[in-house]
Structure formats: C-alpha cells, structure tokens
Subunit: 197 residues, 2 copies
Amino acid sequence: MSALALHPDAQDLLFRQARTANTFTTEPVTEDQIRAIYDLVKYAPTAYNQSPLRIVVIRTDEARERLLQHMAEGNRPKTAAAPLVAILAADNEFHQELPTLLPHFPQAKDLLFADRPVREESALLNATLQAAYFILGVRAAGLAAGPMTGFDFPGVRKEFLDDDHTPLMVVNIGRPGANPWFPRGPRLAFDQVVTTL
Amino acid sequence: MSALALHPDAQDLLFRQARTANTFTTEPVTEDQIRAIYDLVKYAPTAYNQSPLRIVVIRTDEARERLLQHMAEGNRPKTAAAPLVAILAADNEFHQELPTLLPHFPQAKDLLFADRPVREESALLNATLQAAYFILGVRAAGLAAGPMTGFDFPGVRKEFLDDDHTPLMVVNIGRPGANPWFPRGPRLAFDQVVTTL
C-alpha cells in the first residue's frame, strides 16, 4: 500500500510531472482560472491566519510593458511571452485584517503585531508560504508556473506596490510551449536532507 | 467544467478538509510515511534547484525532551503529544551541492552564491517555499500538520543545528485527535487580495 493518501495522478500533476516552464503556448489564462486557484490555495495555513499574500495580476499590454523594464534581461523574453504574469507580494499591514481573520483572538492585532519590524518578518515568512501554495495552485489548474526572483525589487515595488507591500517574486503562468524546460535536475537524497533523532 | 484540473478529492485532502491540528491520536507516523512525503515534495521548485530545506525528525523521547524545553509554553503540550515532530531549517551552505543539483550551470555556486549574506537570503526564501511544500506533503500522506514558530530560535539552533543552519519552524505531525481545531477562520475575498492591471 502506498504511504500517501493523495491519488498518484494528483501527485504527478502537482509534483512529478509539473515543471517550471520557460516557454508557453498562446492559450490565455482566464479570470476564472485565477479565481479558482485563489479560492483553493487561500485555505492553506498561515500563522494566526494572517494571510499576508497580495497578488498583482498583469493582464494588459500596458502593465506588461511597465513590468518588463524591471525584469532581469534573462527573464524578459519569458515574461514578455507568458499568457499571464503575477507579482506576488507581502502586505506588511496584514494585521489590520486580523480581527476579521482570527475571530477567536482579535487582540492578536495589537498584542502581537503592533511593531512594524515584527510584522515585516511575519509577513515575509507567511506570504512566502502562500507563494508556494500559489505555485502548486497554478499546477492544480493544469498550468505551469515560472517563478522568478530575477528582477529589480525596488523598481517593481515603486511601479506596482507601495511602502507597505514587499515584492517576493514574479510568476509566469500558462501552458508549457516548445522546449519548455531543461531536463529535471537531480534532487538530494533523503539521507542528505533528513536527520532522525 | 471546473477551472481546476486537480481532482476535487485531492483539493479537499490538501486544502479544504485539511486543517492545522492542535491534538493528535497516538497512531505512530512511520519512517515510510516521512520518506514518501520527502520523495514527493522534493520535486517542487526552488531557485536554481538549490533545495536548501533540511529536516530534523524528532522520534526518540530523549530528543523530544530536548526540544520541549525550547518551545513556547502554549505550544509545549501539543508538541509533547504529537506522534512525530519535525524541525525545518534552511541550510546556508546549500551552494556546496549546486554543482550536482544544477548540472547545466555548475558555475552558479561561485558566480551567484559566493557571499554568505546572499546565500542566507536565498536559503530563507527557498527553504520557506519548501516548508510549505512539506506541510502539503504531510497532508498528502493523510496526516495533519501543526506548523509553529512559537519557540526559542537560538535555543533550537544551538540544541539541534549549527551556525550554518537557520531554524524556520517546528511541525507537529499525526492524525487529528479529539477537538483538534477551532472553527476555520474566514479567508480574505479574491478582491481583497488580487489586483488586476
């Protein structure tokens, strides 16, 4: 019997067959797909349900042009060609929503998160967890994600965000095109990663 | 037609029915399960395939006692009762493995990651993504995860890790026990999180 409860097809879709794509077909990524991805991954856990991830979806040519100028040169062609692009960011003022998000402990807003540096550290950790959930959510929609940190962070922040939002990554989204990826790199063996005490 | 390719049962298992558990049954979490979880989630993406997550699995009573003294008081009973506990950490010297992990660009080790502060930032981001993959992997095994950051980070680092490894979180693992969770908190609506340009 398998040690996993998740169906093998789902394992393949999310982890084994899915790959980071560098080329895409022209098939559009719909608003329905983005909504379905968010409505799935929003349930995955964050500390105190703080849910600090914010997403800027780049759909118009005009917004795409504004983004491209901030991408590293090596990433520009893929971000130009991807059917849809998302900027993932952390909201450092997430605590404003905590009384709604955490109804059994509404004091968390002031007791735990009154200090901005504490919020920034927590938002970074938890929005990064949510970025991973989002990547797997893109795969759950049968699409390929191409997450990148190769861009001018202050430039993207100034162009699309504000002082309260920290960019984390830019994600190309679409169906894999021609020669979409290198052969998959090897992974570390269990015993290189896991120590049992 | 659904906008997601992932089977609804898999959506439920990973996102909708799964919850962060605060109590657990006594059913053991086996070595086979931990291996199966790792062998699944190891395929999810990291930048340059750097794979910086390292895991310390706490299986013996002696190791558990050493961990409990560093947990925040509110977390101590759950961590004492969980069938298995894992410390997730980032390896700041991950670049040593890059020539193996990234065979088409082995120079990345020295060209991109010669500086320790650069490595620390990259290890933190990418090991946090892998922590999220791991949490969903625990759920893929039909188990509940209880991720926590409420512990003495320097204490856990000194007790179980070293200067090259940064603790990220401690995760309780097992089957949900009696009254395992609060009612699920609300999530932010799509339009609170996503801006489309």
